[in-house]
């Protein structure tokens, strides 16, 4: 499985503007919404669901990576996006490091398998320090798309 099966190419954000955990989560979900996969009326509820999940324990998995996520009835398939913060965002990560690479996932309510496979895929991709480093330095959505497994062009 490749991250490109669920990452929406048009929603990738190579330079997140927000500087807080809530801010970057809002920015990423706003970008998913702009890509047209759920109605505006569900936007705030999805933000709240992801923030609620963060309150239960940070999704900052260490090595400057976070995978904020939630299930939500608004989506019919698992969707995600990637955002890069050049400055780094405090995320209460397990290693205490600021987060630079964010992968946000929204999955349908009733497909735990899809969610588990997507998590595995993200973790597998991010195991390579060189990929994480290259993502942090990436200047464009296209570059990020290629780094997470997408074809050029």
């Amino acid at each position: 499985m490749s991250m490109t099966e669920f990452v929406l190419r048009d929603a990738i954000l190579p330079a997140l503007a927000a500087t807080t955990r809530e801010g970057v989560i809002r920015e990423l979900i706003g970008s998913l919404h702009a890509a047209g996969h759920f109605p505006n009326t569900d936007l705030e509820d999805i933000v709240r669901a992801v923030l609620r999940r963060e309150q239960l324990g940070s999704t900052g998995i260490g090595r400057t990576i976070a995978i904020p996520h939630s299930r939500h009835a608004s989506v019919t398939r698992l969707i995600g996006t990637v955002g890069i913060s050049k400055a780094g965002v405090p995320f209460d990560s397990i290693d205490g490091e600021a987060v630079h690479v964010l992968v946000l996932l929204i999955s349908p309510q009733d497909r735990p398998g899809d969610h588990l496979r997507a998590l595995e895929c993200v973790v597998q991709t991010m195991r390579d320090d060189a990929v994480v480093e290259a993502l942090r330095k990436a200047d464009s959505g296209e570059e990020i798309w290629r780094l997470v497994g997408g074809a050029a062009g």
Partner: protein, 96 residues
């Protein structure tokens, strides 16, 4: 002197969302409390029980049977540790 085999228990994942990030994190935190090596098997796949990310790589769906191994024997604190670890995997759910 021969090396003793580790303690080994099977456990079924009862969480309706499978072994997702939170139970994996809980398990790894609990496993790190003890000095012994902890290994979790799902079919052919194996994970270091002290790493939540390794555990996520198992893709353990609801109903999956996992095997937990802890170095040690029934006379050591490994027995209590493996019970606590299996309880985390067998827990029927969480609040999200």
């Amino acid at each position: 002197m021969t090396t003793k085999p580790p303690l080994r228990r099977s456990v079924v994942v009862n969480n309706p969302n499978g072994l997702h990030m939170r139970p994996a994190t809980r398990f790894a935190q609990q496993a790190r409390v003890i000095p012994q090596r902890v290994t979790v098997f799902h079919g052919e796949k194996r994970a270091d029980g002290k790493s939540s990310l390794d555990l996520l790589m198992l893709i353990a769906m609801p109903g999956a049977e996992l095997w937990v191994e802890v170095d040690g024997d029934e006379t050591t604190d490994a027995a209590e540790a493996i019970r606590a670890l299996c309880d985390i995997l067998a827990a029927p759910g969480d609040d999200a």
